[in-house]
């Protein structure tokens, strides 16, 4: 067992971290690991008690933490759930994450929830809805929120702008930050026939507070390739290249490597984080 903690690190450093998954919890409980910070999916810890919260308390004592929620439903026309905000607020007040984030997406209507990041048309009506929801979320959580670009598989006839313009307007309206998921950007652009490098260049750099990296799958659909954001493999070469471009254009930011399906042994994930760390250090002082 690890010794009792002497401090609780607060800020997420300008370094590479990994997503903490259940398969690796024991690794962290039994020995210090070579990683600068950790991120958890907030909803996985919305429980009354038990081992998950106890384990996270112990791990949190030694690592800076980011909390990444997946169900604020920032794109929901009916608004964000006050109950869910209250649940997350309790979690965040307890664990004091250095960063919190959720997605430009929605996941429920009228008391019915779907565990997916569902897309919404990028237009003026959606911007009104998302801006209102982000403001309520930031107020309810008592913290600045980073909003992540999700992986997109669809285009709507009602789209009026692209993600970069939409997110820039959202930042201007709400003061929120952005979590730029490089893998999602690549997946979305490939699936929607857009140029990722061009879109990346138009993201509001000053608002970007964190990067995400992950692997994706290639699925053949008739004659076409659909990229699926499954977080089940190493970061692909095109995504590493896009990340390097982001470091040049936007600058170094805390960078998280996620791996959620077919989770490998911890050293594999730490190796991915080390690769991100090397690129961060090449890009500037960390």
């Amino acid at each position: 067992m690890r010794p009792a903690p002497s401090h609780r690190p607060e800020a997420v450093p300008l370094a590479a971290g990994i997503g903490l998954r259940h398969a690796h919890v024991l690794d962290f409980l039994t020995a210090p690991q070579e990683v600068s910070w950790l991120e958890v999916h907030s909803e996985n810890y919305l429980c009354a008690g038990g081992p998950r919260l106890a384990q996270l308390e112990r791990i949190r004592a030694d690592y800076p933490l980011s909390c990444h929620s997946v169900a604020l439903s920032l794109g929901a026309a009916e608004g964000v759930s006050r109950d869910h905000l209250a649940r997350l607020r309790i979690l965040y007040d307890r664990f004091q994450p250095g960063l919190i984030s959720d997605h430009l997406a929605w996941c429920g209507v009228e008391g019915m929830h779907a565990p997916d990041l569902l897309p919404l048309p990028l237009n003026g009506e959606s911007l009104e809805v998302v801006a209102r929801n982000v403001e309520r979320a930031q107020e309810g959580l008592g913290r600045r929120l980073l909003v992540e670009n999700p992986s997109l598989y669809l285009r709507f006839q009602a789209d009026e702008m692209d993600e970069a313009d939409f997110l820039a307007a959202l930042v201007a309206r709400t003061g929120c930050g952005l979590l730029l998921d490089i893998n999602n950007l690549y997946v979305s652009c490939q699936n929607r026939g857009l140029d990722a490098a061009s879109l990346l260049a138009r993201f509001p750099a000053a608002a970007v507070g964190q990067y995400h990296l992950a692997g994706h799958a290639r699925v053949m659909v008739e004659e076409a390739v659909l990229l699926v954001d499954d977080h089940g493999s190493p970061v692909s070469d095109p995504v590493w290249a896009l990340y390097a471009q982001a470091l040049r254009l936007i600058g170094p930011r805390p960078t998280l490597v996620e791996w959620d399906t077919d989770v490998p042994p911890l050293p594999v994930l730490l190796g991915e984080a080390a690769q991100a760390q090397a690129l961060l250090e090449e890009a500037g002082p960390c």
Binding site: D83, M112, L154
Partner: protein
């Protein structure tokens, strides 16, 4: 417009053909056929919730096999989609949908799942009990800790070998089992064992708010053979808390 689109899309991901068609009509061309891409969201939701149910019902999953479980899970999630984005709370009603022969097993699985996530409570230790003056023991207000489930008439023995993740607890009771007891121990592991009718009555009485004396009298009337041994077991396993120590 956005609200109507979202209602239709939520229907689509839960298998509603009309909702699917309505959303598909508003999609623009992309690299892949938009209808096939839209179906990805339906598949994602189905796979995610099937996985959630499989985690909550591992023994039922093992008994039914992958395909049978997936078919039943798809039916359940379309009939009873989650109301909350807290998926550890999803699936309570699934036990009622499984084949009758597996319903006891399903209730045991759900009780173990529930125990894992239940609120913490300060268990009353045997040492702490010993400090209480004897004249106050009869009126002592004890409750089972929040993780406890009592399943009368359910035999856990066929289920336990399917749950190697649970802590092994040797059945300490000599009388024939009358039900199953599931809880999360002080080591935070979920445990289960058969219980006889007396212990079942004792714990049911305490859960209903009876004082220790009244619950013990009911238990003895129900055939409890050894009250001190039963209390020692419950205390050693961290199953009891004083009401003032219970989590809100």
């Amino acid at each position: 417009m956005l609200k109507q689109l979202q209602q239709a899309m939520l229907g689509a991901v839960y298998g509603d053909a009309a909702g699917f068609a309505r959303v598909a009509a508003g999609l623009a061309p992309a690299t892949v056929d938009p209808v096939r891409a839209l179906y990805l969201h339906t598949a994602t939701v189905t796979a995610a919730l099937t996985g959630v149910l499989a985690q909550a019902y591992p023994a039922v999953h093992a008994e039914m096999g992958e395909a049978g479980f997936a078919t039943l899970a798809t039916r359940f999630l379309r009939e009873q989609p989650p109301a909350l984005p807290v998926l550890s709370a999803y699936g309570a009603g699934f036990a009622e949908l499984v084949p009758p022969a597996l319903q006891g097993m399903a209730r045991l699985d759900w009780s173990a799942h529930r125990a894992y996530f239940a609120a913490d409570a300060q268990a009353l230790s045997p040492a702490a009990l010993a400090l209480i003056p004897p004249d106050r023991l009869g009126g002592l207000d004890l409750r089972p800790v929040p993780s406890v489930s009592l399943l009368a008439g359910v035999d856990p023995d066929p289920w336990l070998p399917l749950r190697p993740d649970l802590a092994v607890v040797i059945n300490p009771f000599e009388s024939p089992p009358a039900g199953a007891l599931i809880w999360r121990g002080t080591d935070l592991r979920v445990a289960a064992c058969p219980v006889d009718g007396g212990v079942l009555t004792l714990l049911t009485g305490l859960a209903a708010g009876q004082g220790l004396l009244a619950a013990a009298e009911s238990a003895l009337a129900a055939g409890l053979l050894d009250l001190p041994a039963a209390l020692a077991f419950l205390l050693n396993q961290g199953l009891l808390t004083r009401t003032e120590d219970a989590a809100p």
